[in-house]
Symmetry: C2
Subunit: 345 residues, 2 copies
DNA sequence: GTTTTTTGTTTAATCGATTAAACATACATT
DNA sequence: AATGTATGTTTAATCGATTAAACAAAAAAC
């Protein structure tokens, strides 16, 4: 990284003026600072000639702003989050911000680390997809007066800005969709997590049964641990199928659960949807490629990401505006994996 | 972002010494700068008490180093690159570096943008997955004496550090594998690209045929444009099947081509591998989930990513060491989609 | 023809950390 | 006692940009 970069001073010298003038001109403050017109033109010309690029570090040091956003996501290897990351990055760039991304891998500890590192890097604010038990981190940010928005997951008891999905409604719709298709014994595989959005998915599912007069059986709900999904999903599916009321349809509460579950369903030789109908949260190419396209809950990723950026940037400008809390609606994309029982020969 | 941060000066005042001493002590230079022992202890203690965190901006401005790496990948929505990104990030962090990621979406223009933005942000160096026709960018970096490593793709005519895959060998192996399985009419779907790794995949494929006495037919090779893969793949597959020598096996040169191609193969109602055997580059969950697990070329992602970081960091320490150019070997993971013809009933 | 205003430009402090060089003691050497 | 050598510590410049305040010269006001 050689070739000493062009600095304000270089321009100043070449134009035979002080750096102050150069700074005023290049920041469009000629008017307020009443810079002479010819000089202003000259400075602009020299700046262009030398291809001057201001030094962000110096700027940031002075201003206390880095024009950088820290994005902490729960799992970069999940295509949903990878996509969100890309959207956030694009949107931020449009607004003159750079994004630094970190993946917490669903671990509160890693997310603490990232917060520390990013704060050290003087990010202007955060967009966070929270992991379980990270409430104290959020409290910490609030106390420190750091700007942030929660994305995709939020804590109903902590007043923060957030943009997430109406998980209750989405799960409810998924349940109703299956019931209307003639399925009666509907299972749900979710994460064992106290995260609000997960609890809401469970609640929505149960409510869909209740409201349609279907008695819920405990074997139909399996909550699996993050670190043991492979084994637990197998156990869960086995139990659902072997129960006194064997399931004929199954909802997966996340993309990863679906992928793992479907592998096992394949291994068991079950035919979707004849033996088992499927609806899943999250979307991905996988669902298209499956021999029987998978019905899924379409999350408005583009909007989620863009809105998060928008809220954060607005917050940076007006730190004390009231909290914006947005719940977006998902859309159920019905495909073959949940086609009506009547339609199955 | 309130609560004025603790600075060196704060510590200095509290300890009644100059900032110089504080700096020496906290940077472990007590010995060289012969700082008094009691004072050193006192300073450390106060620093801990106040939970002092140095200001990276100031440090960087002074030192000219930001401890930041710019990672430019070709496509963040491709799980292969998303994974690489994660590996690079982890490895960099272990070495005290932060990574800023940008996706060029296979466009040279976007990649130019990213280079400019990242240089402005004073990254110490780059790890780049080049897009087509970006040679001049590479030349520019060389001229500017910027540290960088090419990852996964390189330009054989430009002397740079790089870590990539032995694409020729991998494609050759894929061809041989199919031939040994009894397949004789083998097609390849690749990108229409002058990128070296793509040309090498084509060369390896053709060589595998040639070396086994199979006459290559032009209809067997389809090169599709980045922006028109959907349509072109359909055309390509149609032509391969309708040709005078209809293919009984197909190699996809990348993950994305495979996903798109398999969708079409599904739509055509072809059975893998009975009607058509498949081998693909890249790996992903999709390949496990397919009704018939897909044979793929396993790239040593972990090593690719780690080595790239290692080379870059070494380069930052010793800018003039000779170029390290590494070609790693892929491993063919044989699965059902290419099982031997003899084994098919 | 002073005084005041306006216009145009420079000076210097600042952001926070680093570090060469200067300074000030104490101790050792002859 | 005079000089030299360690041992501690402070001063001040530096990285590059911003900006309040000081300054100077020209134009307007009385």
């Amino acid at each position: 990284m050689n070739k000493k970069k062009v600095s304000l001073k270089d321009i100043a010298e070449k134009a035979q003026v002080s750096t102050a003038l150069v700074s005023y001109v290049l920041n469009g403050k000629e008017k307020e600072s009443r810079v002479g017109h010819e000089i202003a033109v000259k400075i602009k010309q020299i700046a262009k000639e030398l291809n001057y690029q201001p030094n962000y570090l110096a700027k940031s040091l002075r201003s206390g702003k880095t024009q950088t956003i820290g994005l902490i996501i729960a799992d970069i290897s999940n295509p949903f989050f990878a996509n969100i990351a890309r959207i956030v990055e694009d949107e931020a760039k449009k607004n003159g911000y750079t994004v630094i991304i970190g993946s917490s891998d669903e671990k509160a500890e890693k997310s603490w680390d990232l917060i520390t590192v990013f704060l050290n890097r003087q990010v202007d604010g955060f967009i966070i997809v929270s992991s379980e038990n990270s409430e104290e981190q959020i409290q910490y940010l609030i106390e420190k007066n750091v700007a942030f928005v929660l994305l995709d997951r939020h804590f109903p008891t902590i007043p923060t800005h957030f943009v997430s999905l109406n998980s209750y409604k989405a799960a409810f719709d998924a349940g109703v969709h299956l019931i209307q298709g003639g399925y009666k014994n509907i299972g749900l595989i979710a994460y064992k997590s106290n995260l609000f959005h997960m609890q809401e998915r469970i609640r929505g599912y149960r409510e869909s049964l209740a409201e349609n007069g279907i008695v819920f059986h405990p074997a139909w709900l399996k909550e699996v641990g993050f670190d043991t999904i492979d084994e637990e999903i197998k156990i869960g599916i086995d139990e659902m199928l072997a129960s006194a009321f064997p399931v004929d349809a199954l909802i997966f509460a996340t993309y990863r659960l679906a992928v793992t579950g479907l592998k096992y369903i394949n291994a068991l030789g079950l035919k979707v949807p004849d033996d088992l109908a499927i609806v899943s949260f999250g979307q991905a190419e996988v669902f298209d490629l499956y021999y029987c396209p998978i019905t899924y809950v379409l999350q408005p990723m583009e909007e989620l990401g863009k809105t998060a950026v928008e809220i954060l940037i607005h917050q940076l400008k007006e730190p004390h505006a009231e909290k914006r809390q947005i719940l977006m609606e998902a859309q159920l994309m019905a495909r073959d994996s949940s086609r009506s029982k009547a339609a199955i020969s």
